[in-house]
């Protein structure tokens, strides 16, 4: 009952938040100079007054801003995100097309980073002053400190040019268009390696540092001494008793990061021409494609809210003490 109430309360909050987000986004994007008609004319190599006016009319941009706003809110409440100005197709379709690749990329990177980072952190915390521990810390910090696009470009040069064993752009080999089944899965995974690795390198440092610090803290506590005194093996002490408690901050950060799905992936998607939501958002900004950008932002707000909800739920799962509250 508690759980249900908590979820319902969250959802009510979320609805209010969404409307606010919509309003702020709408105002922000209309504050940017230039309009879609000028971008479309720019892409066409020129235009004239009548053409620009008719583009504006076709997209309803000739209406006063408040009218456009009310129309937009009304439509979004009914689940209609509108038509993209740039691509002239429903925004919901564009987002659905792009969400899969982004989730695949970010989830792969996050999972590897969480598992590998936590293990590295645990390993480093066992002997915090050893050389190996220092090496883990230094390497992961280097990965974290490098700008993500630079890491990506280095990997592209290394595995695309010096030792060309990996595809460097896109999600599929276009020459194999129409091929399905296992070969297609292998093809996608092959294309996934470099972008996912790039993103993992960035995330890894946070998790290994976090796991190390919180393991160190937990390992110093009394109940660990008790566990050891009981004669439990070091393995059980570390993974069953210590790690479980040390995981809380890791989960918190993972939840936050999942919410930042799009902003985190935009650079990686650009470097690797990965057909995800991040690049869609970027193109929408440059093209002043208001409906698409608003659609992506709305969608990512929903994602942030959902991620937070899931994080809260997983706290309860990890820490039984929270279940009663």
């Amino acid at each position: 009952m508690h759980l249900l109430l908590a979820i319902l309360r969250r959802l009510a909050w979320a609805a209010g938040l969404l409307v606010a987000v919509l309003a702020i986004n709408f105002m922000l994007i209309h504050a940017a100079p230039g309009d879609p008609a000028s971008v479309i004319a720019g892409e066409m190599g020129g235009g004239d007054e009548a053409v620009m006016a008719s583009i504006k009319k076709a997209y309803g941009l000739d209406q006063p801003l408040p009218v456009q706003f009310v129309t937009y809110i009304g439509k979004s409440m009914r689940g209609d995100l509108g038509q993209s100005y740039t691509y002239n197709r429903p925004v919901s379709g564009l987002i659905l097309d792009r969400i899969g690749p982004t989730i695949l990329l970010v989830l792969t990177a996050l999972l590897i980073a969480i598992v590998a980072g936590t293990l590295l952190g645990v390993f480093a915390s066992r002997r915090p002053d050893s050389f190996a521990s220092a090496a883990v810390t230094v390497l992961s910090l280097i990965g974290y400190a490098m700008p993500v696009f630079w890491t990506g470009i280095l990997l592209v040069i290394l595995f695309g040019k010096v030792w060309p064993i990996m595809p460097i752009a896109g999600m599929r080999d276009v020459r194999q268009f129409g091929v399905g089944g296992w070969p297609a899965v292998v093809d996608v995974l092959h294309h996934l390696v470099l972008p996912a690795l790039t993103l993992t390198i960035v995330y890894l440092a946070q998790y290994s540092r976090l796991a190390r610090a919180s393991m160190l803290e937990v390992l110093g506590s009394d109940y660990i001494r008790t566990a050891r005194a009981k004669g439990l093996s070091e393995w059980v002490v570390t993974f069953k008793h210590a790690l479980r408690n040390a995981l809380m901050p890791v989960v918190t950060i993972a939840g936050l990061q999942f919410g930042h799905l799009i902003s985190g992936a935009v650079l990686v998607e650009t470097v690797f021409s990965w057909p995800g939501l991040g690049t869609l958002a970027l193109e929408a900004i440059l093209g002043r494609d208001y409906p698409t950008l608003l659609g992506v932002l709305t969608f990512s707000s929903i994602l942030v809210i959902a991620a937070n909800l899931l994080t809260d739920l997983s706290y309860r799962w990890i820490d039984p003490r929270l279940r009663g509250k």
Partner: protein, 530 residues
């Protein structure tokens, strides 16, 4: 590697007897096998594929594969039959009658009729951004199922060029004539035409997959099974994909360092000066309405203080062409007989003195803002260079950057600038891409690439109006010569350079399109080596 200059290619093409041109064996045509997949790499992502309502290379390149046009232009700017078997111009030059082939069908099997031609030309006239292309078309009438007559309000010398591949796709009336505004028609993303290839799938920002149309009206064409356009987010990954052989064709190499790498790619063939009809010019535009720049001597002085050779050779690595006036050097109406404004600081200083601009206490005569189109590293470097050069004649320059294209376009179109670097393209006939910049009637605040210099010279207006209706080639050429000389003398812009297009092909590609539109023309004859 080997580089072919387009002009040389033309000359060589006239005499196909020699054993090889530039190391490419001439019997490649014989070796060309039927079939195969050709992948074109591009950084230009189209909005949709209907070139009747959208110009720009991004849309025109795939559209030229999907749609056939009444006419194709060959490499010598001569119209050749395509969907139209023949055409006749009436003696008063006020109507053109087109006779269509019997055997042309759309990808859904329906025949291409005069109705479709009427519908297409009227749609283009009413929606295409190049208004002047069919501006004089009063109506298109239908004599019989295969004959359409274009009725003109005045003689229109550009009408045949306008009907060529990239500019006039014949779109099916039974699909696009359903009453929906064609500009936002849902089928623009999934169109059918009567061209050599039909669309399989278009994923915006990712790829366009096209497949041979078996009922294409030309015998034994096209040769390829599939043409795939792969869209890249940036030019360096496109280049790498070309080097790795993932991409067979690089649509346009523009950077000197990238060109060097393409040339080093084993087997790669580089075509210099491809698509001369497109003709991009890069210039320094002056806002002649700004009180500081209203005196033409000031503009000329700035022009004389800019070393175009330095820009061409040092900044741009010598891969582009000097631009001398409003027409590109590839145009049949081009003249090089104009003031070239070669670097001359003494002359520049004297012009400023004459204009009454004396140096102030700190040596500064004049302070001006300078904008540039965002997103191009070259333009930024040129901007920096201009600032330094102009300091030498006492003109202080404030560099202004815009965060993205719409911000810049807004600034320039609303005439809130002193000087800006700009890139304006010729698009085939002067009526289409040239008149717009210099006609005083096209000073239209809010519209980018109209006459944003606010340039006005009644003589130029008069000559342009005459040239736009002159059917005699020699007379028309003479009129444009006057225009070029006068515009250069009045100096509403300082002409810097022409961007030369370099298309790059993998060794296995034979017979790439060689007409005036380059790759924005059909790949009908192109094939892969057996």
């Amino acid at each position: 590697m080997s580089t072919i200059d387009r002009r040389h290619l033309l000359q060589a093409g006239a005499a196909l007897t020699a054993g090889s041109i530039f190391g490419i064996p001439l019997d490649v045509a014989a070796q060309a096998a039927k079939g195969g997949v050709l992948v074109i790499g591009s950084t230009q992502s189209p909005r949709h594929l209907n070139s009747a309502v959208q110009s720009g290379v991004a849309t025109m390149m795939p559209a030229a594969q999907l749609f056939a046009s009444p006419i194709r232009m060959d490499k010598n700017w001569k119209p050749q039959p395509y969907l139209a078997e023949s055409w006749t111009l009436s003696p008063d030059n006020r109507s053109v009658s087109l006779v269509l082939r019997k055997d042309a069908v759309f990808h859904d099997g329906r025949p291409v009729t005069a109705e479709d031609v009427k519908f297409s030309i009227e749609t283009i006239r009413d929606n295409h951004p190049f208004k002047t292309m069919y501006g004089p078309v009063n109506a298109v009438t239908i004599s019989d199922a295969r004959t359409a007559v274009i009725r003109l309000s005045e003689p229109h010398p550009a009408v045949l060029l306008a009907m060529s591949t990239s500019l006039t796709p014949i779109i099916p009336k039974h699909i696009f004539g359903d009453g929906t505004d064609v500009k936002i028609h849902p089928r623009n993303a999934n169109p059918i035409g009567s061209g050599p290839f039909k669309l399989v799938e278009f994923k915006p920002g990712e790829y366009i997959i096209m497949e041979r149309f078996d009922r294409f009206f030309l015998k034994d064409q096209p040769k390829l099974d599939r043409v795939i356009v792969r869209l890249f987010k940036d030019s360096s990954s496109l280049l790498l994909a070309f080097e790795r052989g993932e991409v067979d064709v690089h649509l346009a190499v523009t950077d000197p360092r990238e060109l060097e790498r393409v040339r080093k790619t084993p087997g790669a063939v580089v075509v210099k000066g491809a698509a001369p009809a497109i003709g991009p010019l890069i210039w320094l535009a002056f806002n002649t309405k700004s009180p500081k720049l209203a005196d033409k001597r000031v503009r000329q002085a700035i022009n004389f203080a800019v070393d175009k050779q330095y820009i061409l050779n040092t900044i741009l690595g010598g891969i582009n062409t000097r631009s001398t006036g409003p027409l590109t050097s590839g145009s049949p109406f081009y003249t090089g007989d104009v003031e070239k404004y070669e670097l001359n600081l003494a002359k520049a200083t004297k012009l400023l003195d004459d204009a009454g601009l004396k140096p102030g206490a700190n040596g500064v005569r004049l302070t001006l803002d300078l904008d540039s189109i965002p997103g191009s590293a070259d333009q930024k470097t040129i901007q920096e260079y201009l600032k330094q050069s102009l300091t030498k004649i006492g003109v202080e320059v404030n560099l202004r950057q815009s965060p993205d294209f719409p911000s810049w376009a807004r600034r320039v179109a609303s005439l809130q600038f002193d000087m800006t670097l700009d890139s304006v393209w010729n698009w085939g006939d002067p009526v289409i891409g040239v008149h717009r910049t210099w006609l005083s009637s096209n000073i239209k605040p809010g519209v980018i690439w109209s006459n944003t210099q606010s340039y006005s010279n009644p003589k130029v207006d008069e000559w342009l109006a005459a040239a736009g209706q002159e059917m005699n080639l020699a007379k028309r050429k003479e009129l444009y010569k006057q225009v070029q000389k006068t515009v250069v003398e009045d100096c509403p812009v300082a002409f810097l350079y022409e961007q030369t297009f370099y298309e790059a092909y993998a060794a296995k590609v034979v017979n790439p399109p060689a007409g005036i539109w380059g790759l924005t023309d059909g790949l009908n004859e192109s094939a892969l080596k057996a």
